[in-house]
Symmetry: C2
Subunit: 432 residues, 2 copies
C-alpha cells in the first residue's frame, strides 16, 4: 500500500523550523552528490523517474482524485480544478517531459572560457551546478516533475513547495522521483517536497534555510511572485509581469505587422510572452492603424486606445493611464500612436516590465536602435513576442522566464541552472 | 576655488531619504545613457578622468591632507592613516590605473551565444551593462577611481559610498571623474558619491534605493562585508573570508610543495588569496611534513598544528578547533595531517570559505578529483593560491573577489559587471 508511505500534512507547527532546516541540510548534502554525478547517471535517473511515474499511475491518479475532490469541496474554480486534474494523457505527458529533459545535453562541465597566461597557467571557467533550488508553485502538479527534472539535469537538488490544492498529487510524483533517483544510485533527497500545507514553510524557504537554498524559483500567479520577490533573502529567478509591446514602425510592412501582431497578442492570450500594448508610429498611422485595429477586433480582441486610435475605429474604447501598465492576460490590447522610435522606446521603458518587446520594421537602423535601447530580457525584430519561451529558444525546456538582471535573464533552461568555477592548472607557478 | 564646490557633509538627516532616492534616480538615468555609449566614448572619458585627476592634483592632495589630519585627531591607527594617505606617486598610480581600465577590451556588446532556429530565427545572447552598481568602501580613497572606472568601462553607473575617513578625498576624486565624463559627453551622474557620512545612507543603498541599485559591491573589512551581506536586499558581489587551503597530496613533489606553499602563505599575508591552512596527506607526512613546517617557520610564519604536526617540530603550537576556520591575514598558518584526498576535501568543505584552494600533486587523477569536488570559486593544481586576483587571471583589473554562487564568482572584472539580453532577429516569423 504505497499510499500509506506518503507523508501526510501532519507537520507540527512547533517543530516546522527544525523540519525545514533538516530538509535544507539534506538538500545540501544531496546537491554535493548530484554535482559529481556523471551525465549518464543523471540520464538514467531521469529515464527511471519517467518509468516510475508510468508504473505509479494508479497511485498518482488516486491522490490526484483526492486533491480534485478536496478542491471541489472547497469551492475552487473550474479553471483551477482543470489545472489541477491529471488523467492518463496528462500523466503520460509529464513522464515524456521528464524523458525529454534527460535527453538534453549535460550543462555541467562545459568549458565556458579558457585563459592561457604568460606564466604558463591555464585557467578554465567551467560550468558547475547552482546547488539547491527552491521551487514554489501553485496548483499545477506537473511542475513537480518538470521543475524537478530540470534541476536534476543541471546537477542540483530541489526543494519543492506545492500549493495546497496539488499537495497530495505532488507528493506522489515526488515520491516516484525519489525512487527513480535511488534506482540510479543518486540520493532521493535531491528532490524533496515540503511535507506541509503550512504557509510558514514558504517564509522559511525564502529566508534560505540557513544558507541551504541558493535560489528560489516561484511558479505561479502574480501574488505568489510578488510575495517571493518582496520577502526572499536569496536570489529569485522570476518575472512579475509580461507587459510586452509590439511597436509598428513607419517602415513596417503592413502584412507582416498584422501577422506578427495577431500572433503576439492572440496565439495564446494567457502566456507571459503575449503582447499587451501596440504602439504605432504616427508616420504610418494613416495606412497601418485602421487595418491593424480592425484585424485585432475581428480576431476577437477588445481594443482600448488613445484618441488617435479611437478616431480610427469607433469600436475602440478609451484607454486610461492604467492600461499602459496592465498585463491583461486576456483578449484585450492597449493601443497608442507615438511620434516615432524615440517615443516608442520611452513608452516601453516607462511602462514595460522588461520581459519581451518587438519592433516591426524594414528599416535596419531603426531595428538596431530598438534592440539596443529597449532594456528588456528579450528584444525582437520582425518576430512574435510569443517566441519568449525556452523551448522556442532551443533550450529544450524552461523552468520559467526571468526579468531580473542577474545570472539568469529571459528563459531559464538547464544552462541557466548552472554557475561556474575557475580551475587553475599549474606546474608549480608562484606569484611574483 | 574649486574646493568650495565640493559637496560638504551638510546632508540633513530628515531629508536624507529624499536625497538618496534622487541619487538613485539620477544614477538610473545616467546608466541608460552609459549603456548606449560607444567603446570609444567610454575610453575618451576614462582617459579624460585620468588627465583630470592629474590636473586636480593640488585639490585632491589638499582634501586628502584634511582627511589625514582629521583621522589623526580622531586617534586612528597608523595603518589606517597609511591606507588613507595620498601623495604624488599614489595619485599618479590612481590615474594610471584608470587609463589601464580604459585600455581594456569593451565588455559590452560581445556576442555570448548565437542560436539559429529551424524556423529561421537568429537568437543572439549579447552582453549589456548590469545597470547601477553601489560600491561601499572604507578608508582607501583610490577605490573611488578604481571601482568607478571599472563600472564605467562596463557601461554602468556607480553610486559610491566612501568611508568617513576618506570622505573629502573621495569627493575630490569623484568630482574629477564627473568632469572627465562630461568632457566626453557622458553624464557626470554616472559616478555619484554619497554626500554624507551618515551611516543611514548605507542602509538605504542596501535596500536598493527603490529599485535603482542593481548590485552592491562592498570593499573593505570583514565587518563591512558582513553587514552588507546580512542587510542587502539586492545582490552582493563579495567574499566574507578567504580561508584558503593548500593540500599537499601523497604524490606531491616536495620542492614544488615548498615553493608553492611559501608563496601561497607568505608572499603577502594580508590578501584574501593567502593560504590559511595547510593539509598534508598522512602518506607523505614522514617525508614532507617536517621540511614544510621548517620552511614556514624559517620564513617567519607561526605554525599551529595538530598532534602529528607538533610531534614533527617542537616549535609548532597547538591548533584549536577555531584555527581551522580562522582567516589570519597574518604570518600564521594552521597545519593538519589528513588521511588522504577524501579527508582533505571534507575538511575544506567543512571549514573553508569557498574562495581559493590548491592541491599539490603529481597524480593527475587526484588533481582531477580535487578540482571537481572542492566547491570553491577558484581551485588550483600545482599553483599558488595567491593567483586569486583579476589581474593574474588576465582581467586587467578587478573590483573584488566574489564567493557567492550567482552571476559573478571569483575575480570580478569588467566582464562580470555586465549581464546579457537576447536579441531575436526575424523575417516576420510567428509561433505556431
Amino acid at each position: 500500500m504505497p499510499v500509506l508511505n506518503l507523508r501526510s500534512d501532519s507537520a507540527d507547527p512547533d517543530t516546522l523550523p527544525e523540519q525545514m532546516a533538516a530538509i535544507g541540510r539534506r538538500a545540501r548534502q544531496a546537491a554535493r552528490r548530484m554535482a559529481l554525478a556523471s551525465a549518464q547517471t543523471k540520464d538514467i535517473a531521469l529515464q527511471g523517474i519517467a518509468e516510475r511515474l508510468r508504473a505509479d499511475r494508479d497511485t498518482v491518479l488516486r491522490e490526484n482524485d483526492r486533491d480534485v475532490a478536496a478542491a471541489r469541496e472547497a469551492g475552487q474554480s473550474e479553471a483551477l480544478i482543470d489545472r489541477l486534474r491529471l488523467d492518463d494523457a496528462r500523466l503520460a505527458g509529464i513522464a515524456a517531459a521528464v524523458e525529454k529533459v534527460g535527453a538534453l545535453a549535460d550543462p555541467v562541465g562545459r568549458q565556458l572560457a579558457a585563459i592561457e597566461r604568460p606564466n604558463g597557467l591555464l585557467i578554465e571557467r567551467v560550468a558547475v551546478p547552482l546547488g539547491v533550488i527552491g521551487v514554489i508553485f501553485e496548483s499545477r502538479p506537473n511542475v513537480t516533475a518538470d521543475a524537478g527534472a530540470l534541476c536534476l539535469k543541471a546537477g542540483n537538488a530541489a526543494i519543492l513547495r506545492a500549493g495546497s490544492d496539488s499537495f497530495r498529487t505532488s507528493q506522489a510524483i515526488a515520491r516516484a522521483m525519489g525512487q527513480g533517483l535511488e534506482a540510479a544510485g543518486l540520493p532521493a533527497d535531491a528532490v524533496q517536497i515540503v511535507p506541509t500545507r503550512d504557509r510558514a514553510a514558504v517564509g522559511m524557504m525564502l529566508a534560505g534555510l540557513d544558507g541551504c537554498v541558493d535560489v528560489i524559483v516561484p511558479r505561479g500567479g502574480r501574488s505568489l511572485v510578488e510575495r517571493v520577490q518582496a520577502e526572499a533573502k536569496v536570489p529569485v529567478f522570476a518575472h512579475l509581469d509580461g507587459i510586452n509591446h509590439v511597436y509598428v514602425d513607419r517602415a513596417a510592412d503592413l502584412d507582416m505587422a498584422r501577422t506578427v501582431l495577431l500572433n503576439s497578442k492572440m496565439r495564446r492570450v494567457s502566456v507571459c510572452g503575449a503582447a499587451e500594448t501596440l504602439l504605432i508610429d504616427r508616420a504610418c498611422a494613416d495606412t497601418h492603424l485602421k487595418p491593424l485595429v480592425a484585424a485585432l477586433i475581428e480576431a476577437g480582441c477588445a481594443v482600448r486606445g488613445d484618441a488617435a486610435t479611437r478616431a480610427a475605429d469607433p469600436r475602440v474604447t478609451e484607454a486610461t493611464e492604467a492600461d499602459w501598465s496592465t498585463e491583461y492576460l486576456d483578449a484585450v490590447i492597449a493601443v497608442r500612436v507615438v511620434a516615432g522610435l524615440d517615443e516608442a522606446i520611452a513608452h516601453i521603458e516607462s511602462y514595460g516590465s522588461h520581459h519581451t518587446d518587438a519592433i516591426i520594421t524594414e528599416d535596419e537602423e531603426a531595428a538596431r536602435r530598438f534592440l539596443a535601447e529597449v532594456d528588456s530580457a528579450i528584444v525582437a525584430h520582425n518576430a512574435s513576442t510569443q517566441f519568449a519561451d525556452g523551448g522556442e529558444f532551443g533550450f529544450g525546456a524552461e523552468i520559467g522566464i526571468a526579468t531580473g538582471r542577474m545570472h539568469a535573464r529571459g528563459p531559464v533552461g538547464v544552462e541557466q541552472l548552472t554557475t561556474f568555477k575557475y580551475r587553475v592548472h599549474g606546474r608549480g607557478q608562484t606569484r611574483p
